[in-house]
Symmetry: C2
Amino acid sequence: MHRDEIPTPALLLDIDRFERNLTRMASHVRAAGKHLRPHAKTHRCPDIAKRQVAAGALGVACAKLGEAEVMARAGVRGLLITTEVVAPSAVRRLTRLAGEAPDTMVVIDHPDNVRALARAAAEDGVTLNVLVDVHVGARRTGTEPGEPALAIGRLAAEQRALRLRGLQGYAGQCAHVMGWAARREASHASMAPLMDTRARFEAAGLTVEIVAGGSTGTYNIDLELPGLTELQAGSYCVMDLDYRRIGGRTGEAMTDFEMALTVVATVVSVAADRVMVDAGLKAFSTDKPFPPEAVERAGFEYGFAGDEHGRLTLTDPARAPKLGERIEFFPPHCDPTFNLYDRVHVVRGTKVEAVWDIAARGRSD
Amino acid sequence: MHRDEIPTPALLLDIDRFERNLTRMASHVRAAGKHLRPHAKTHRCPDIAKRQVAAGALGVACAKLGEAEVMARAGVRGLLITTEVVAPSAVRRLTRLAGEAPDTMVVIDHPDNVRALARAAAEDGVTLNVLVDVHVGARRTGTEPGEPALAIGRLAAEQRALRLRGLQGYAGQCAHVMGWAARREASHASMAPLMDTRARFEAAGLTVEIVAGGSTGTYNIDLELPGLTELQAGSYCVMDLDYRRIGGRTGEAMTDFEMALTVVATVVSVAADRVMVDAGLKAFSTDKPFPPEAVERAGFEYGFAGDEHGRLTLTDPARAPKLGERIEFFPPHCDPTFNLYDRVHVVRGTKVEAVWDIAARGRSD
């Protein structure tokens, strides 16, 4: 199939750019003497996860149990579930998953949850690998660093059916700090309590094989930390407008990784003052305060115009798109854009080389 | 299954409320001597569409061809595709659909598209039912009212393989005008050119069996128009925060239809200053400037905190949610929230009565 034959709106992955992104990140992590367990919440696609592992990743991080179940059943191993698993039925699913993929890890941040996991794992005859989730300023999950984290670690270490592996600290508030120097300062300040917690764990004789954290925004910042063992960056594999604008180590834009993900749309209506495409808020993420951007096509600006429509406001009427014209756009935010599609079309030049299932789409459970 | 056993986050439909909404709208439309072809873009769920038809609807409106294909294959008839079908491969799919469901209608707004549809229909041996899409101020699709619309109507009427059925005019800009009186004034002003276009079609001897338009916001406004034959309201069947706030004919809130759609989440992490639930921007629509609202549960406010997390900021620490607590939320906008889920859990009281596939989820093509 030619890329111009794909029904629109559709999600496209530029495989050349994607492959270069994987190679670049793998080289960077290897040179730093660290590991990579990329976040699969970005793409929810086992075919992408397998390519990340083939490029050297230890496995993938999953935001949710449901995502991890799909990855495991597709044969991906080395899974880390980065949100606490709390509901009783979810804990049962987790022990079943640990039976199928015994190296799966999950994070913990509350003593009640530690005991519930230990009880279920013992009953179901499995060992659960756990990391203590440490709050490093994102105001999401995680126990406070230092003594509170140590208490959770000690409790976990006492449980026969749990195996303490180390720590996780995700400083999400630093991922999109504008400008590399400012971002570096923010991230190092946020991660310092995690490094201190690591030292306390070691002093207490608790296992710290793994200290996981970091994002695409801090990929070349957090690996400077001697105490961090692995990076969880996700978006690097495809990038998006939100990450491109944060600025690189050198330069205004973050160009270390290439923009590999686009949405292709078709012009379905033209009028004197506007041109409408068939891609609206069910085709692009809407959680960022800026719109999709056309790829190498000037003359207009995109604005959301409902569930299924985008309005192109002409800035150069001489270049007004024609009825039936196909236009590609970079999405504002890759993760929730992937999550709108069941499939991604893998294109190399003008050829559709494959269609990959976004098999964990919608699996937030 | 008990509703407390559903893995979270999950989409819930309160079937009692939903059924009352269907009955209320059916009575209202019948009393006005009009018809209803509710917009299935709201739910993308054939099981819901079938219940709407059983309650008296003529069929359902579909925003896109892909939605209509799913509805047709599930046995739903009386389909109206409310966006122009332009791409050559899509036109072929449309003629195939017309072969399977011959009463399907599609809108047109451009002479090139009229000729392309006529050519494909003739080649494929089908007749396509068409409505002229008239622009009534939403700045989306549609030809200008009056002479331009008449020209499209005449061109369609000349095509042997097309059957002109009438007009569509969707004044989306009026749907959420705050306050019933202001909304009525806005809608009647916007719809006047559509009514004038209807008169011109009749004077020119062109068929106007159908004049379709209206929204949940204007359901008891547009049916006052003698020239409108059918209403396209969609959200009325489940409602959402966005429609509730526009105000009813009497009262501050629009309470004519009941809030029947919720997302249930679980508390997965608790801290001194915050409580985290497992539902973030992959669990709720994010296109409105206000957040989800907890159902009959005070003491906190929800804020988005990433793909998979919602942060509950405590307003009454005495009522802080506990680890593992389940909390239901009304979504800001029903259409894109449905579009995040593969299934909706149908609950009556505490019992899960059914699980319906949102079979056209993601079918924006």
